[in-house]
Symmetry: C2
């Protein structure tokens, strides 16, 4: 594949490891990467072999049309549920829009040559440069999730950006569970104090229904409190992804006097969790990557 300034060639780990090590061995380039800096060319080769060996992977080296060592790599990750873009540029190739040009070609290939219905990029929320690249090539934010890389101490927030090929697919915009409660107003007070929940709407005085949102925006995670007089209340379990705010939310919940029935603990499935119990017996499980 060629673009106005670039040549993209299928990546060959044996041939390309020495050139690409200028990127994989540079801590500044690897700052946002999901593994540490590669110590030497052999380690870079091993990582490249692992990447190209995954089912569905399509990786290219990025070279300037006039030739020379590869400036970086771009392509589609293999072994992922949703086709995912990746790109990486040697530091001396930054600042000229080359990542955008290469990633745009990779997206075009994915959607129009490979006929994929959609592609994503996962970009760390603090990585402004890569967010800008993703947006320039037509990927829009679709949601956020938390991850922790094995070589890092703490989780980080990822922005999931995506672009669909022909027309956006059928979409459900939000999911909102109804929690039956004895006292809607008391529920609002508790969720505000313990988890920073914000009242979105109420109906009735005293309220018989209310919306609670998490975070300051008009869209995003939410739930509904609904008054019930039934003697037996159906107990609901709701998982809230606390991302990077896990400890802060735990401190807040404890300070608010909420009933923490399971304190923060690491789970075998790779998360940390703590559980609040509402007076009606509902469990709200706060989760974060372990």
């Amino acid at each position: 594949m060629t673009t106005s300034r670039l040549r993209l060639a299928p990546l060959d780990p044996d041939r390309d490891a020495p050139g690409l090590h200028a990127a994989f061995g540079d801590p500044e380039v690897m700052r946002w990467w999901n593994h540490p800096v590669c110590a030497d060319v052999a380690a870079t080769r091993e990582r490249l072999r692992e990447g190209t060996g995954r089912p569905g992977a399509h990786l290219w080296t990025i070279s300037l049309a006039e030739g020379g060592e590869p400036a970086g790599m771009v392509g589609l990750l293999g072994g992922v549920a949703v086709p995912g873009l990746t790109w990486l540029l040697r530091r001396d190739a930054w600042g000229r829009g080359l990542a955008t040009e290469a990633a745009d070609a990779a997206v075009g290939h994915a959607l129009h040559r490979l006929g994929l219905a959609h592609v994503e990029a996962w970009v760390e929320a603090a990585n402004d440069r890569s967010l800008a690249v993703a947006r320039r090539i037509g990927l829009a934010e679709r949601g956020r999730l938390a991850q922790r890389y094995p070589h890092r101490e703490r989780p980080h927030e990822m922005v999931v950006l995506g672009r669909a090929g022909a027309g956006e697919p059928t979409a459900v915009l939000n999911a909102e569970v109804a929690l039956p409660v004895r006292d809607v107003a008391a529920g609002l007070t508790l969720l505000e104090a313990a988890l920073g929940g914000r009242t979105l709407f109420t109906a009735g005085d005293p309220p018989y229904v209310a919306g609670v949102g998490f975070g300051p925006w008009s869209a995003g995670p939410r739930l509904r409190l609904v008054a019930t007089r039934r003697w037996r209340i159906a107990r609901v379990t709701l998982y809230l992804d606390a991302g990077t705010e896990f400890e802060a939310l735990h401190r807040r919940a404890v300070a608010a006097g909420a009933r923490v029935v399971h304190p923060p603990a690491e789970k075998p499935w790779g998360t940390r969790e703590f559980t609040l119990r509402l007076p009606e017996g509902h469990h709200i499980v706060l989760t974060a990557p372990a």
Copy 2:
């Protein structure tokens, strides 16, 4: 307020209606607006009075520094839960980045002068030009919701974009309810067939837990199916915002043989809803603006 090319002056409906009517009376400019084209200057004046009269509104006319009739208006909406940006430019002022320049000044005023913690813009998903303006001034997507304007036949999808002042606030990234079911695999099949749910993960064979996502992306609305052997299952009510896909999802659910216990109907609170009942008694309510 002044910017490099613009002067922003507090909007006065009586003084500014004749000039701004060039925008409010133009169907092309008003294509994305929440009310129809204003028929005459008096109607524009009435709309401007209504807008400036709302509590918390800060609206300015946009004029070129060299003078002349106002090119448009920009500012903060009043009477909204989260401070909301608005902007509008006469058609002959398009294409020069003036909306971006004016809206950037309004955001700066909101965050730094008024000391607001965050501002939002709601932009229709198909309105590429305004999405670009919002992103250029540092607003990032925070979620999506559906709306229907009174003068339109059908609902549309809104992108909620936001920018925080000093640091992002405590955030819950996602909310995911657990539905106890007798048969996780059967639940996956039903949710896929009826609502286009996608299996995100399963554990166990046969599965005792599974994640279901709605839409093609790695982040977004989701729920969890959890196997239970309890005789009495707690019945959960979950609301899914079907947005513009309400009819399509209803047809899909019916075609899949799902049990639609409440057919599509308009509700007094301004939505249309239909309800699926899962075999265990859970209710999944699909909603859209009426």
